[in-house]
Symmetry: D2
Subunit: 487 residues, 4 copies
C-alpha cells in the first residue's frame, strides 16, 4: 500500500521546493508534482523534512550508581512525537570489558522496545589487545563505525592519552570515526574536591568545577591526538567558545573535525544552576554544564558558519528522586537532562524563526549532516528516492508550550518547561509508517524500530587517509660512511 | 529523443552512488538503475557530475585600454572542453553609465557566440539615483541578482565606501547579493607609484604593489559595510590568508560572507613574477597576484573547512602582444590570465587526487555551492530530476599535459603549461546536448547557449533579513520631562 | 632649595622599593635611603610614582560649532589634582590650513594658563605640498613628533586613505609617529542618517551609529597603511575588541602598533546611553561610544598583556548647555566627556585594587609607556636621576566619592559621579613644585607650566626603519634579450 | 677599590643614554657623567648593558643514561665569554625523591666550579606529601621560587595532570612560579615507536616524533591547569606557533603566562635534521626540535610584541660520542645542544642588526624580563644603583665567526659553527669583577660565583592572587525549604 505526502514544501539541506512524496513500503519511491498513492498524507501549508536524527542519547544507561530512567520505548516515542526518527545511543562495555557482549546487552534492552530506528556508538573505556581485536568485528560485523572516548569521569569511563591514540589509530585503520567527550577529567575531579572542601555542595558547584577552559583543553588535546593518529574526529556536546575555537583552528589547518552542540546549550544558560530551588537546579545538571550567553551566541554562529555541524540532545533523563542522590554533594547528582522530544521544535523556534538559521540549515544540522558523518546518507537524513521514508510533515502553525503534563518522556520535569515552541510535527513517518500524528492520540509501537548498520570509510575519512599517506614523513637516506659507529 | 548516461558513479555535493541518468530534452527526467533511452552515453569507470559553473569570467572585456582577447565563443567552448557548462561574466556599464544599456551591450556580444549557458554579474562603478532605480529592473526584469563592486582600479572602476554602503543597502532591499573585488585601490596606486619611482618597472612590481595586507584590508572593510547594510557578501578572488581570515572572523560572528579562491591562486605562486623572462612573468599578471605557498595552503584548507565556498578562474585572457603594453611599466600590463578550460581538472588533480578534497567537495566548490549562492540550484549545479541536464562524464583515466598547442583558448600561452592533469571530461552535456566528447573532434556550437535568469531572495538573504529586522536598534522612549529644551 | 620625598615606596614601571627622592630645582638629584633636603615631603604609607601623563586632551577645542568648555587652566589644574603632571593636547589647523600657525594659536591659548607641562599632537586634516613641507618644521623646530589623523568626522576633520598614506610616509621620513582616530567616517555618517530617518534622535542613536565593527574596520585599515608606509602607528581611544584584535594581529606580525584605551571605556558601558534622562545620556556622548562589558574586559586584559599600552581620557568637556545643541539630533551633541582628574584614581581603584594590574603596570600605562612612545622618557614618565621632578605621592588611604561639587573641572557634571575612588595624590609635584597638596586648598598656578619639546626617532621607529630597509622588495634583473619590445 | 666604566652608552630595557657607571665592591654605586674611580674600564664606542641571564641550563645533568658534558666550570666560563653573568640550572631530584637532597647535590657539584652566579629551578617529577612539605622549605629556606614540571619524557621525568594541578596549587600558596616543558609525553612516545617501527631510526625521526601540534597541545593544557590552580605560568623553550598561540590566547584573557624561546629555535630550522651526515644532525637533537621558518618568524615577532619575554638556551651539551648512543635509534640520542656562549651575540646579530628588535628589547629579553619574573630585579638584570655590578661592555665592532676551535664550551662541536657574530663583550663583569676581557686571555675563576636566593611573591603573582580571590565562585545560599531530603 503506497502513501503520498501531498502539497507540502520539501526542505532538504540543499533547497526548498513544492512537491509530493510517494512512499512505497519503507522507501521513498518518487518525488514530484501531482503524485498519487493509496493513502494521502496532507502537508498543505507545511514543510516536508527528513526525520530528525539525534546522535547522542543514553537510554536506560547504567551511570553514577543508577540507571537513566528514560527507556528505549519512552525515549523513542518521545523522539517520534518531536519529529526524530532515529537516534544513536551510547553502548558501554560492562564489567567483562567486551565490546561485543555490550552490543548484545544493548540489543537485548532495545530490541523489543524501540519505536524508531536506532544505532549505537561503541564506547572505548580502556585498552587491551582484545579491544583492539573486537573493534574490527564491531565495525565489520556489527555495523558500528563510531567509537566514543571519555576524557572525563575519572575512575569510571575515562581513558588516558596513549589509550586514545591507540584507539584512534585503530579507527584510522578501520575507517571508523572516533568521538570524544572532551573535558579534562583530572582537573574536573580536582575542582570538585576543591569546591566541596570549600562547602559548595549545591548544583552551582557542578558548573564551577567544569569551567569552559577545562572543556576547551580536552577538545584541543583530542584534536591533536586525532591528527597524529590520522583520523577524523567528532566532538560531542561542544558547549563553549574554547572548544569551538579549538575546532575552528583545526578545521582551518585542514583537519577533519566535527562539533556537536546540544539544544540545551543553545538555549539555556548557566544561571539555571544558581536557582534558589535545589531541585530546579539539580534537574539541569549535565556535563558540560550550561554556559553564558556569549558561549551560546558562538554556538549558533558556528551552526550557520559550518564550524559546527550537528545539534543533539545527550538525552540522559534521571528522575527527581535520582537527582536527589546528590543532595549533599553535587558530584553525586546523576548527570543528564532530557530533550529528545523538544530538540527540533526548540531549534526551529530559536533558530529559524529568528533568522539565525535558514530552513535548509535546520535540516542539515538536525539530520543530514549527521547522516553523512555516520555514512548512512541518504538512506537516512534526506528526502531521496530509494532512501528510507523517514519523513516529517513539519507544521509551523502548531504552537505549544512545553509542559511536563503533556510530554512523552517518562521523567517528572522538563528543562524547557514553559517555553513556547513555534512548530511541531503534524505527522512523523518512520520507514513509511506513521508513528506520530498530531492530535490523534498516537501510541508507542514498541519493537517496530530497527537497528541500522553503518558502513565504515565515509568519504572524508578516505580523503584524509590519502592525504596522510602522501604526506607521511620520509626516512632520510644516509650513506653508511656518514653514519658513525655506535658506542 | 532521450539520452541515458549509463554505468557511471554519480557524484554530487552530498554523496556518490552508482546510477544511470535519463535525459529528456533539456532536463534530467530520471535517476536510477537500469534506465534506458534512445541514446546511450557510456559512463563506465567514470564519474557523473554536475557541469561546472565558473562564476567569474571577463570575455571580450574592454579593460586597461584594450579588450580581453577571449571571445564568448572561444571562452565558452574552452569551458565545455574542460567540463564547465555555465559561466557568469561581469557586465560593465559603458560611458553612459546605464546598467540596462550595459546588459543590452553584453547580450549583443554574447548572444550569437555562446556555446554554453551564461549569466552576468552587474558592476556598480558609481552611484546615482538612476543607478538606484535601474538596480530594481536589473533584478526584477533582467534576472540578475548579483552586483559587483571594485574597491581597486582607482580612477576607473573603483567606488568609495559610502557608495558601496548605498549599493549594498539597495541589494538588501532587492534581495540581491553584492560582490567585491577587495583591494585598497588608494594604496595600490600609491605603491605602484612608489615602486615605479624606485625603478621597479617589471612584473615583480605588480606583486609588490598589491601585497596581501592590502587585500585583507579591503575584504575586512567590505564585510563591515555589508554587515552595516544588512546583506550577505561574496568576495571574489580571495588569494591570501589576510582576506580569508577576515571572512572567517565574519562567519564566526554569524555574518553571511562567501569567499571565492581562484584555481590559479590555489596552484601557482608568487615566484612566477620573478621569472627572468619578462613575457613569462607578464602572462601571469593578474589581480590579486599569486601569493606564497602558505597562502595557498590556507585556501585549500578553507575549501575543506567550508570557510571558502567556490573555485573560479577570473578568466580574462590577454595575448602576449597585449601584455606588452606594459613592457616599460607593470601597471600598464593588462590584468588577467586564463583558466576556464583547466579549472576543473587542475582542482581534481591537486585536490581530489591528493586527498585534500573529497569528490563531493570537488563538486560542491565547482558547481553546487555557487548555484545555491546564485539561487539557481538545482536547475544548475546538481544532478536532480527536473534540473537542466548540464552533466559531465568525468573520467579520471584521461591524463593529459597542458599545452598551448592543444588548448581551446584563443590566446598564445597557458599559465598551466606543462602540468599534468589527471582527469578530463569524457562527455560534456549542456541542457541535454553533448557539446564536448573526448577524442571526437568536437566543434564549438556558437549561439546554442542561453542567458539564465536568476531570481533574488536566496535563502540565506531571507534569513539574514529576518535576523537584522529582529535585532535592529530600538529608540529609547523618554518622558518629555526628561528631555531638556534645545539651545 | 632642595626637597626630599621621605619614607615612601617608589613604584616605577619596573619595580617597587623603599627609598627617598631628593629634588634639586626642577630635577631629581638622587634616589636612595636616608636622604636629606631643605624641605621634607612626607610619603609615609604612600607610594611615590611618576606624575601621570595624559596624552589625549582637547582643551578649549573648537569643535562641532562650539568650543570645549574646559580651559587650559581648569584642565591642567584638574589634572594636577588627580596626579597628572603633563598632558598632550591636539592642535588643529585653522581655516588657513597651516600647521605652524595652528601651533602658534595653541601656544597663545595655553601659554599663560597652564599649571602643568604640556605638548601637542599636530592634526593632519588634509594634504598638500605646504603641509608636507611644514611637517618637517613641526618636527625639527617645534618639537612635535606626533601627527593625528581622523578617519571619522566626514566633511570636517576626516582624511582619505591616500592622504593618510602620504602623511604616514612623511612621518616615516621624519621619524615621527602617526596617530589615528579610527572610525569609518563614511559609514558613521550613513548610519547617523539611517537612524535619524528612523526617528531615533536621542543619544542612543550615537551609540547605534558608531558600532564596534566600524571602529575595528578603521583600525585595521590604518594599520595596513602604516605597514605599507613603513612607520609605527598609535591608535587613540581603542574601545572595542574589533580594534584591539586588529592591533594584536598587527603586533603578532611584528608591526609596531600601539593602542590607547580610555579610562571611560574601561569603566563605563553602553547602557549609559539608554538612560531615560536625556541630559544624563547626552553627557556621556563621546566617540567611540562606550561599549559592552565584554569589550571592557578585553581592554583590561590588553593592558596586562601588553597589547594595549596607555590609558588616556580624550578629555573634551562640554557643558550641559552645549550638549543641548543636539537635543533634536544626537549627531549634533558635542562629542566629549571629562576624566582628567579621575583617570589615575579610577584606574587604581578598578585595576590595582582588584588585582587586574600590578602597581608597576599602573605606572606603565599612566605615564612610562607613553613617555617612551613620545620619546621623552625618562625626562618624563619615570623616577630617574636627572629626569624632571614630576612626582606624585600616591596615597591609597585617601578614599573619596566623585562629585561635581568638589571637582576641579569647569563643567557642570561628572560622568563618574558617585563612584568611590580608593586612592588620591597626597602631593603632586611638577618639575619640583608642589602643585597639589591634599587637603591644603591648593590653587591653580596658571602660566607655570611649560611646553615640552619631543625629539623624533624613538627607538622603535629606528628599528622599524632598519627592518623595512632590509626587507624592501628588490627589482628582478632581466637580460634585455628576455624583455620584448613594447607595442 | 672602585671601578668606573667610562664613555659608554648604557642600554637598559627602558632606554639608552650616555653615562659612566661607578662600581664599589660588588655593587653599582653611581651612574652619571664624568665619574671617576680607581680603575677605568673603557666603554668608548660600545654599549654598557646588564649582564645576560640564561634561565635555562643543564650543566652536568644526569639524563638519558649519561651526564651532560658541560661542567659548571666550563659552562659558566663560556657564559662569561658570551656576556652572560648568571644562569639558572635545573635541579632534578635523585632516586630518593627528596627536593632538599637534590639541592644539596647540586650545590656540591656547582659550588667550587662556578665562575658566575647561578640559581636553580627545582624539578617536580612526582607528587607526595613529602614533596608538598619540602616545597615550602625550598622556597622559604633555600631561596628557590620556581618549580619545573615535565609533560614529556614519559617513564622518567614526566608527571600527570592531577600532579601538575597539585603542584601548581602549592606554587600559588607559596608565591612560587611553575615552569613547564610542554610536550605531550604520551604522544611523543607513541610517535617514536611508530617511526622506529617504520624504519626511521635517524635524527629526522626525532623531529617527526615531536611535531608542533604536540607541543602546542601541552602548552595549552598547562595554561588551563595554571588558570585553574590560580598561579602564573612560565613555559620554557617555546618553539612553535601552536604553543605561542596558546600563550597569546591566555594572555589575552588576562592570564599571567610567560614564554621563553631559545636562541637555537630563533636561528636554526628543521632542515638541520635532514642533513646527510648523521653526526651533524644528531648534534642538533634537542626537544622540542627546530622548526620551520614560519615558526621562527612567529617567535621573533612575539619578542617584539611582548607575547614572549625571554631568550634562553636550554644549554645541555653532549659530546659526539655521547650522541652516538642513539646511532641506531634516534630516541636514544641524548637531547641537548649548546648556546650559552653564543646566545647574546646571535640574538644581537639576527635581531638588533636587522631591526627586528630594539637595543632596549635586546636587553629586556636577555636579562631584565627574566630578572623580574624570577623576582631578583634590579639586583640582577638592570644597571641600577645598589644592584649587583653584573655589567657587560658590549662591543658591536668585534665581529667573529663561531668555531669549535675557539669556543669555551667543553664539547667537540658547535651548532652555530661558521656563523658570523656582529657583537661581543669587550668586558664582562660579575659583581664588580672582570671575568672576561676580550683579547686578554681571560681564564676561568672557578668558585667565585655565588648561589643567588630569590624571594617568592613577585608582583604579578600577588596581583593574580588578589584577582582570583575576588573572583572565586560563591556558594548559592538556599533556604532549607528549597532543598529536598536525600535518598
Ligand atoms: Zn558526555
Ligand atoms: Zn553523552
Ligand atoms: Zn577583480
Ligand atoms: Zn575579475
Ligand atoms: Zn577621537
Ligand atoms: Zn580626541
Ligand atoms: Zn625541556
Ligand atoms: Zn631544558
Amino acid at each position: 500500500m503506497s502513501k503520498v505526502i501531498k502539497n507540502g514544501t520539501i526542505v532538504t539541506a540543499d533547497r526548498q521546493w513544492k512537491a509530493d512524496v510517494l512512499i512505497e513500503g519503507e522507501h521513498i519511491a518518487e518525488i514530484g508534482e501531482n503524485l498519487t498513492g493509496d493513502e494521502v498524507i496532507d502537508a498543505s501549508d507545511a514543510y516536508v523534512i527528513p526525520g530528525g536524527i539525534d546522535p547522542h542519547t543514553h537510554l536506560e544507561m547504567p551511570f553514577m550508581g543508577t540507571t537513566a530512567a528514560e527507556t528505549f520505548e519512552s525515549g523513542t516515542f518521545a523522539a517520534a512525537a518531536g519529529g526524530t526518527t532515529m537516534l544513536v545511543d551510547f553502548c558501554l562495555p560492562g564489567e567483562d570489558g567486551s565490546l561485543l557482549n555490550a552490543i548484545d546487552d544493548w540489543d537485548r534492552k532495545s530490541k523489543d522496545q524501540i519505536c524508531t530506528d536506532i544505532s549505537y556508538h561503541m564506547a572505548i573505556t580502556g585498552w587491551s589487545e582484545s579491544i583492539f581485536d573486537e573493534m574490527q568485528k564491531v565495525v565489520q560485523e556489527r555495523g558500528i563505525n563510531t567509537f566514543k572516548h571519555f576524557m572525563a569521569y575519572k575512575g569510571a569511563l575515562m581513558i588516558e592519552d596513549d589509550e586514545m591514540f591507540a584507539s584512534f589509530k585503530r579507527c584510522a585503520e578501520l575507517g571508523a570515526l572516533p568521538l570524544v567527550h572532551a573535558e579534562n577529567g583530572d582537573i574536573v575531579q580536582e575542582l570538585q574536591q576543591k569546591y566541596l572542601a570549600e562547602g559548595i555542595t549545591g548544583p552551582e558547584g557542578h558548573a564551577y568545577s567544569r569551567p569552559p577552559e577545562v572543556e576547551g583543553e580536552a577538545a584541543n588535546r583530542a584534536i591533536m591526538i586525532a591528527d597524529a593518529a590520522g583520523c577524523p574526529l567528532y566532538i560531542v556536546h561542544v558547549s563553549c567558545e574554547q572548544a569551538h575555537e579549538a575546532i575552528r583552528r583545526a578545521r582551518q589547518k585542514g583537519m577533519r573535525v566535527y562539533g556537536e552542540p546540544l539544544i540545551q546549550h543553545l538555549t539555556l544558560d548557566e544561571s539555571e544552576y544558581f536557582n534558589k530551588d535545589w531541585q530546579y537546579a539539580a534537574r539541569r545538571v549535565m556535563s558540560p554544564p550550561f554556559r553564558s550567553k556569549d558561549h551560546q551566541n558562538g554556538l549558533w554562529n558556528g551552526l550557520a558558519a559550518g564550524s559546527l555541524q550537528v545539534v543533539a540532545t545527550d538525552h540522559a533523563a534521571f528522575t527527581d528522586e535520582q537527582k536527589r542522590m546528590g543532595v549533599d554533594n553535587f558530584a553525586m547528582i546523576p548527570n543528564g537532562t532530557g530533550g529528545l522530544e523538544e530538540r527540533m521544535a526548540m531549534l526551529w523556534t530559536k533558530g529559524v524563526e529568528t533568522g539565525r538559521l535558514t530552513p535548509e540549515e535546520f535540516v542539515a544540522v538536525t539530520s543530514t549532516n549527521i547522516a553523512k558523518i555516520l555514512n548512512i546518507y541518504p538512506m537516512k537524513g534526506g528526502i531521496a528516492v530509494g532512501g528510507h521514508a523517514d519523513v516529517v510533515v513539519w507544521d509551523p502553525s502548531i504552537h505549544r508550550t512545553v509542559s511536563v503534563a503533556t510530554q512523552k518522556s517518562i521523567i517528572d520535569y522538563n528543562v524547557f518547561e514553559g517555553m513556547e515552541l513555534k512548530a511541531a510535527p503534524r505527522f512523523t513517518l518512520s520507514r513509511g509508517d506513521v508513528i506520530w500524528a498530531h492530535g490523534q492520540n498516537s501510541q508507542p509501537q514498541p519493537g517496530r524500530g530497527k537497528f541500522i548498520k553503518r558502513p565504515p570509510n565515509a568519504s572524508a575519512a578516505k580523503a584524509l587517509s590519502k592525504w596522510k599517506a602522501l604526506n607521511t614523513p620520509r626516512k632520510i637516506e644516509r650513506d653508511p660512511l656518514n653514519i658513525p659507529a655506535g658506542i
